[in-house]
Amino acid sequence: MIFSMLVFSLMVAVIFNFSFPPGSEFIDDAAAGIIWMTFIFTSLLGMSRSFVREVDKGCMQGLLLAPIDRVDIYISKMLINLIFIIMVEVVVVPLFSVFFKINLFDSIGALSAVLLLSTLGFAIVGTLFSAIAVNTRTREVMLPILHFPVSIPLIICAVQATNAVMAGQAWSVIWPWLKIIIAFDLIFFLVGYLTFEYIVEDS
């Protein structure tokens, strides 16, 4: 799974590159957007598989019968999604830096914070929605339809914060974006924590 995510991610990055004329100056402004589009599509690819095994092979019942808190299932699935996407990002971000000739390593601390917190938000919402989408008739289509509109604030903030980091702007410019990202993470983790049980319960 992680391998297919990685390959997919690299392909998306390269294809985006072809949408600009060679040597275009726009690429500097668009780089953050391209990075995030790549990661969003990659994470959807990975997360859509979160509960497929459990639902198709009936393992979900096995998990629900175990003497564990149901929310632990959500948290573990969410963490493994987060780890997978972060691993892809660790490989792809340096390659971006090479492809798009942007120096991303001057402010590696700020960049890591933005990447980690935004990806966490995607995993929090995406894992929960994939538990819903896997039970619908059009699984693969349903996840992005549910995920995109709800995560629009996250996308806006992640792209703008990454832009600010790449432009070498001060922490005071990055911080307002990061604040919204953190609020998104906290609020939706709480909502997910409270509602996950209702998704996996059998009637």
Binding site: G58, C59, Q61, G62, P67
Partner: protein, 245 residues
């Protein structure tokens, strides 16, 4: 009236409805500790719904349920720790090996001394040689045997079996029956639902028939031959077409 403690499972006035459809209506059942009860019934009689409520997967619409003194709605985790469930599905991960599956579920149940317990369980169901093979390569019968090992890993005192014979070949069904009769001697409480009369009756202490969400027959196995029961069952189930409100 017997003391509450001698019953492993008590159900009183249990009702479950989906919208306007009733799956169970005012069901009463008391299973003694160590008793083996088989519930027969045609498809759609509410058998699976009953098992799901007892195993804490479903919530009842009304009525009282008590399993080893705990209520599924209030203390689901303490009940889950003490029941072993074998259902239509094996609950096994096909990409993992037999031993890995048991290790995963053993950790979920916090089984102590897990490594040794896994070896013992695999030996009991005769799969020691295949411990390191992926479940995907197993036959249906072998998967069912592993499912049994999985359900018994945490040494449950109550077993809930939902159509365990479905999809098994003759040999695998025989293995399952032998294993169940061995368990009977260990005086575990067992509740099995099935529509397979021969298999269901051979081990039972008590036989019950569920039809349209109601118990219509409840009798000790002793003194009822398989032939007699078949006749009774046919009269109950096929003789009178189900009435629907």
């Amino acid at each position: 009236m017997k003391a509450e403690g001698s019953f492993a499972i008590t159900v009183a006035g249990l009702t479950k409805c989906f919208g306007h459809m009733y799956a169970l209506r005012q069901v009463d059942l008391a299973v003694k500790t160590g008793e083996f009860v088989t519930i027969f019934g045609p498809n759609g009689a509410g058998k699976t719904t009953l098992i799901r409520i007892l195993s804490t997967l479903s919530k009842s619409s009304s009525g009282e349920v008590s399993i080893l003194g705990s209520s599924p709605a209030k203390e689901p985790e303490s009940i889950r720790r003490q029941i072993g469930v074998i259902g239509h599905n094996t609950f096994l991960y096909e990409e993992l090996t037999a031993a890995e599956n048991l290790k995963f579920y053993g950790k979920l149940y916090s089984v102590s001394n897990l490594g040794q317990r896994i070896e013992e369980s695999l030996a009991e169901v005769g799969l020691s040689a295949r411990a390191a093979d992926r479940v995907r390569t197993f036959s249906r019968g072998m998967q069912q045997r592993l499912a049994i090992a999985r359900a018994m890993l945490h040494d449950p005192s109550i077993l809930l079996l939902d159509e365990p014979y479905t999809g098994l070949d003759q040999h695998a069904a025989h293995v399952l029956s032998e294993w169940l009769s061995r368990l009977r001697k260990e005086s575990r409480t067992t509740l099995m639902v099935t529509h397979n009369i021969e298999r269901g009756i051979e081990l039972a202490d008590r036989i019950v028939v569920l039809r349209n969400g109601e118990f219509v027959y409840d009798h000790l196995r002793k003194g009822v031959s398989a032939e007699d029961f078949k006749q009774i069952y046919n009269d109950l189930v096929e003789g009178k077409p189900g009435k629907h409100a």
